[in-house]
Every structure is written in C-alpha cells, then in structure tokens.
C-alpha cells in the first residue's frame, strides 16, 4: 500500500493568488477621474448643470409670467444699478428690470433659456442619431460606403446658413398651421439644424467603424453567427462612443448659437415667444440707454456655449486613452 497522498501539496509561493487590494476600475471611472483634473471641463459641467437646473426649475420658483405685459412698470433697470445710480428706476419686484413693454427680464431670461436649451439638446440628439446611423452604415456595409460618403460630401459643400434661412422662411407657414406657432417653429428649427450638421459626426464614426470592424473580436463575433445588427449594437457602437460624445458637445454649442442667430435675424420663434437671441435682437436698438438688455442674454448665450465647449475639450482629453493617466 502506498502512503496516502497529502490532501493538498504545499502551494508554490510565486503562484499564490493574492486578493486584489483594490476593486477593479471601470473605464468610465478612469474617464471621470481624468475629466475632474481638467479645470475648464469642471467649470463647464458645473455651469451647464446650473443653467439647465435654472431653466428647468426656475419657472416654479420665480413664477412671473414672461409674456405678461405690465406697461406701468416698463423700462425698469436691474436692481444692481441702484448701487451707483440712486435715481434709477429699480424695484425688488423686477430683479433684472423690465423691457419697453414691462415684461420681466428675469422671467424672460429663464423662458428664453428653456427654448434655447431645448432646441440645442433636441437638435444635437437628432443630428447625432442621423450622423451615427449614416457613419455606422457607411463604415460597416461596404456597398453603401461610396454613395453615403458622396452624400456626406454633397451636404458638406452646401452653403449652410443661407440654406437654413431659405428653409425656415419656406416651411414656416405649413408647419405653423399644423403644430401651432411655437411647436411648428420648434420642429422646423430642430430638424433643419440637425439636417445641416450631422456630417462631421458621420465622417468620424465611419472612420472609426472602418478600423474597428477589422479587429479580431468582430471576426470572433461573426464566426459564431452574430447578425450584423447585433455586431453593430454590441461591439461597434460602444467602441465609437467616445468620438460621438465629443461631437455631441460641439454639436450642442453649434445648435445653441445657430438657434440664437436665427432668432437674431428675425426668422426664429414668433415675436412674443422669448428666446435669448430674440431678446438680444430686440434690445439692440435701445442699447445706449439699456445696455443690460443686450448684455444679459448675450452673456447667457456666451457662457453656456463656452462651458459646453470647455466640457467638449475636457471630454476629448479624458476619452483619449493615450492622453489619459498622464
């Protein structure tokens, strides 16, 4: 009889599994840590959250109707003008003053921000969807690559702002009739901004998809019979998420500026519906006496766009694994 085998041999020291001391880090935690180091991105994110909350919750806290005409209390200056000019017409009931029809500036600013942010987000999301779809399809299906990229080139060689203006003036009437003055304009502006701004996203996504679809994991997925739809959804889209996020930030900034520019030129929302661009345009004629009416919406637009741009910059750095960790 042989000796009974020792129940377990003494483990070799070098092969001993040591419990990992730190929990595994996910990719998004890394990205977040990197993003927090970018001062501009932190400022941008903070301001974006602040302005979004302000326009979302603001109307419930400051419950003045932005479109209410209060002609007795017109042309109030902002409350802070009293600091250097004791005789100016100010009042606590109008913290940022009122315009030439007595509409409250703060309420208008909040309502205008609501319109601008809504248009910006909706147009950005729509243009991302179009751009990503065309980019993925062009990159994945070789047969569609040529025609779709020619289409993208064609759109890139269209003069954008003139066409925007043409389209807005053309389709204003029918859409207004169907969806009401504000709803129709919203749909029109969002669609037009999205249709004219999806091209950069499509190009970037196509380039990345072309590179990723040659990798081994896609081959492996295909070898076990994954359908193209599943490959795109499970393997390609998550890998092109970072360029999409960066172009989302840039797209939001462009959409906000384009909407304000349209309002400024007088082809945007109807004239009694406040937006930042429209407030600015209305105030330009009397900016010598009431500079704050130009400054407040102007600063609001500029700061929002600036913060979005900084956020995009930070995201680009944080999402790039070659830069991350430095």
């Amino acid at each position: 009889m042989t000796e009974p085998v020792a129940s377990s041999p003494a483990p070799i020291e070098a092969l001993k599994d040591i419990e990992p001391s730190k929990p595994p880090r996910s990719q998004w935690k890394d990205v977040w840590d990197q993003l927090r180091k970018h001062k501009g991105a932190v400022f941008g994110m903070g301001f974006l959250v602040f302005i979004t909350l302000a326009v979302l919750i603001g109307p419930y806290i400051y419950t003045v109707d932005p479109q209410k005409l209060d002609i007795r209390n017109k042309d109030f200056r902002p409350i802070y003008t009293a600091i250097w000019d004791g005789d100016s017409k100010v009042g606590w009931n109008k913290p940022l003053g009122s315009d030439q029809l007595g509409r409250d500036n703060l309420a208008q600013l909040i309502a205008g921000g609501r319109a601008s942010m809504a248009v910006g987000w909706a147009a950005m999301l729509l243009s991302l969807v179009i751009g990503t779809f065309i980019g993925v399809v062009a990159g994945y299906f070789k047969r569609l690559d040529g025609p779709l990229m020619r289409l993208t080139d064609l759109f890139l060689s269209l003069p954008i702002l003139p066409l925007l203006l043409v389209a807005v003036t053309l389709f204003r009437q029918p859409l207004r009739a169907n969806f009401g003055p504000e709803g129709g304009m919203f749909i029109l502006i969002v669609t037009i901004i999205a249709i004219t701004s999806w091209m950069p996203t499509a190009r970037i996504v196509r380039g990345d998809v072309l590179a990723i679809k040659e990798r081994e994991f896609v081959l492996a997925a295909r070898s076990i019979g994954t359908t193209p739809g599943r490959i795109i959804g499970r393997h390609l889209l998550p890998n092109v998420l970072s360029p999409i996020m960066v172009s989302a930030a840039l797209g939001l900034a462009t959409a906000i500026i384009t909407e304000s520019a349209l309002s400024f030129l007088g082809v945007g929302f109807p004239s009694d519906f406040p937006t930042w661009g429209k407030m600015l345009a209305d105030a330009v004629v009397r900016m010598e006496e009431f500079p704050e009416r130009v400054l407040l919406p102007g600063i609001a637009i500029s700061l929002t766009v600036l913060s979005v741009n900084y956020l995009g910059d930070g995201l680009r750095d944080a999402l790039d694994p070659r830069i991350r960790g430095r």
Binding site: L154, L158, P162, L306
Partner: protein
C-alpha cells in the same frame, strides 16, 4: 497631379448641377408670389401676363433649364464682355461683344439683372470680410506657433482661453458689445477712440482724411470677424505645430547645432503650415459669402445682407443665384485645398 485635378474638376460639374437642382426645387416650394407688391388696381389678367414675363408658371423643369442656360452660358458672356470693355485688368483687349441682348437672370425686387447687383455688392464684402481674414491670419499664425512652442505656459493658457472665447461668443453679441464700447462709452472718455458704428458704403476714398475714415469705419466689423477667424486658425496652427515639434527631424536639426530660431521658423513652421494652408483655402468661400450676421449688425450692404433682404422680399431668382454662387465657391475651394495639399506635401500622391 494634373490628372487628379482634371478628374476632380470634371466630377465637380455633376455635383454642382445636383446642388443647384436641389436648391431650385426647394425654392419652388416657396409660397411667395412676385406680384404680391403690385397694386390691387392692376387687373388679374395683366398680372398673369407679368408673371409669365418673369417666367413663373411654366413647368419647374423648364424654369430650371432656362435658369441654368442663363447662369452658365449667358452670364459668362456678359462677364467676358465686361472684362474686355471696362475692367482695368483686361480692358486693353478689344471688346468681345459676345452678349447679344438675351434674357438674363432678373431679380424680382429690382427687375434688373441679378449679377449686376452682385457685382455692385462684392467690393464692400471683399473689403470688410477680406481684410478681416487677412488680419486674422496675421494674428493667428504667430499666436499658434508661439503657444505650441511654449506649451502649457501662461501665454499658451491665455491664448487657449481667448480662442475659446472667440469660438463661443457669437458675432451678434460681440458686434453690439463693441458698438456700445467704442461708439457710446467712448464718447465720455478721453482714452477710448470713438469709432463709427455704422458702415457707410457710399463713402469714397479720395484723399488722406477720407482714407482715414474708411479705416476707422472698418475697425469694428473687422474686429468682430477677425476674433472668430483667429480663434479657429490659431487652434489649427497650434495643433499642427505641436505635432511637428515632437518629430525626429526636429531632434536631428537641433543635434546638428542649428539655432532654435532656424529650427522653429524654417523647419517646424514650414511643415506645420501644410494643413493650415488648406484650412485657410477652405475658409475663402466664406469671405465671398459675406458674414451675414456681421454685415447685418454693422449695416454693411455686402453679399450677405443682399441675401437676407432677398429672402425677406421673396426674391427667388436672387436667392437661387446667390446660394448657387456660394456652392460653386465651396466646391471650387475644396478642390483647390486638395490640390494645394498634394503640392505642398510631397508624401501625398493622388495618382
């Protein structure tokens, strides 16, 4: 290279045809009527005849074909005639007299040929937007190079911040802001120069003082436009210089004992200019396109302002022609940028 250029040039013809067709069909949907301004006392059948005289009411394809012939065949003849008759460049050639009085593209607003109005408006746009572009290039390139050379220095941080501002602050805000500062506040101070806030297009430069006034009235619009263009260009220049500064040939040049000045200015800058030159070329159509918003703020009656007024007045031939000219310029300068890229960078071979 030559075959590439020819191929692209030939390919751009169907592209332009398609673009013009799309724009034309889009404009066909417009609800406006060219007779809307004619008094109500004019009988309906006279109005109908006037409409037909303007070419409205025929099938859209016929209208498109007529517009195409006028734009691509008759207008060039008029232009060549003008070149050989009046311009200082080719005026010494004998008058070609190609144009025999055929119908040209007529504006519904003024009932005069569209191209005549465009030719009248181009100098204003070129003066303001063109000067802004040149100023922006002159400022942006040194800023981009220096902030890349001193990456993460105070200068670089400040430059990046100003670039971000230039990206983010829209021209319809900087315009009024500058007007408030230089035309309103400046009147109460002794240290700020007072500048005209409205661009006077009828102003003629005849002597020194009128030239000075011309410069003064150009300052504000040029400042607004230059801030935007500088922001974009200096960003490109910085990125491109940064790419090149880490290349091996720069280390080699330093190892040879060349001075920093020669390394940066003649090795790095020359190579980093390659992508920037194409970006500059791609931006030139926007000079001719005019800056719609800036022209609107400072009342410069250039091309952009022409487009806006034509749109509001429902002047479809004018809108059509202007958008088509913009499209031609974009396609043309895309082609030029591609060719320039190949000429400047010997690593790129198109054939």
């Amino acid at each position: 290279m030559l075959s590439f250029a020819t191929r692209r040039l030939v390919l751009s013809v169907p592209t332009l045809l398609f673009i013009s067709f799309v724009i034309f069909m889009l404009l066909q949907l417009a609800p406006g009527d060219p007779m809307a301004q004619v008094p109500l006392t004019v009988p309906a059948e006279v109005k109908q005849k006037m409409r037909e005289a303007l070419g409205v009411g025929e099938p859209a394809l016929v209208q498109y074909w007529k517009w195409l012939v006028q734009m691509a065949w008759i207008e060039p003849k008029v232009f060549i005639d003008w070149l050989t008759r009046e311009s200082w460049l080719l005026g010494w050639l004998p008058d070609t007299a190609l144009y025999q009085g055929e119908l040209r593209v007529i504006s519904w607003q003024t009932r005069s040929p569209v191209m005549d109005i465009v030719i009248q408006r181009i100098p204003q746009t070129l003066w303001v937007v063109g000067v802004a572009y040149v100023v922006a290039i002159l400022i942006a390139l040194p800023i981009g190079i220096y902030s890349a050379y001193k990456q993460y220095s105070v200068f670089d941080q400040a430059g990046t911040f100003v670039t971000m501002i230039g990206f983010s602050v829209p021209p319809f805000f900087t315009g009024p802001l500058l007007i408030v500062i230089f035309a309103v506040i400046a009147q109460d101070t002794w240290w700020l120069p007072v500048l005209p806030s409205i661009y006077d297009t009828t102003h003629e430069v005849t002597n020194w003082s009128s030239f000075k006034y011309q410069l003064q009235q150009m300052v504000l619009p040029v400042m607004v436009l230059a801030l935007q263009i500088t922001a974009q260009l200096s960003r490109y220049m910085r990125a491109s210089t940064l790419d090149n500064l880490n290349q091996d040939y720069v280390r080699t040049a330093r190892a040879k004992g060349l001075s920093e000045k020669i390394v940066v200015l003649s090795h790095v800058v020359r190579n980093s200019m390659i992508p920037v030159v194409t970006v500059i070329a791609l931006g030139i159509p926007s000079i001719f396109g005019g800056a719609i918003i800036t022209e609107n703020v400072f009342k410069v009656n250039g091309i952009g302002q022409l487009l806006i007024t034509a749109l509001f007045a429902n002047d479809l031939p004018m809108v059509m022609t202007l958008t088509f000219i913009f499209a031609v310029l974009i396609v043309l300068f895309n082609l030029i940028a591609d060719i320039l890229y190949g000429v400047l960078d010997p690593r790129i071979r198109y054939d």
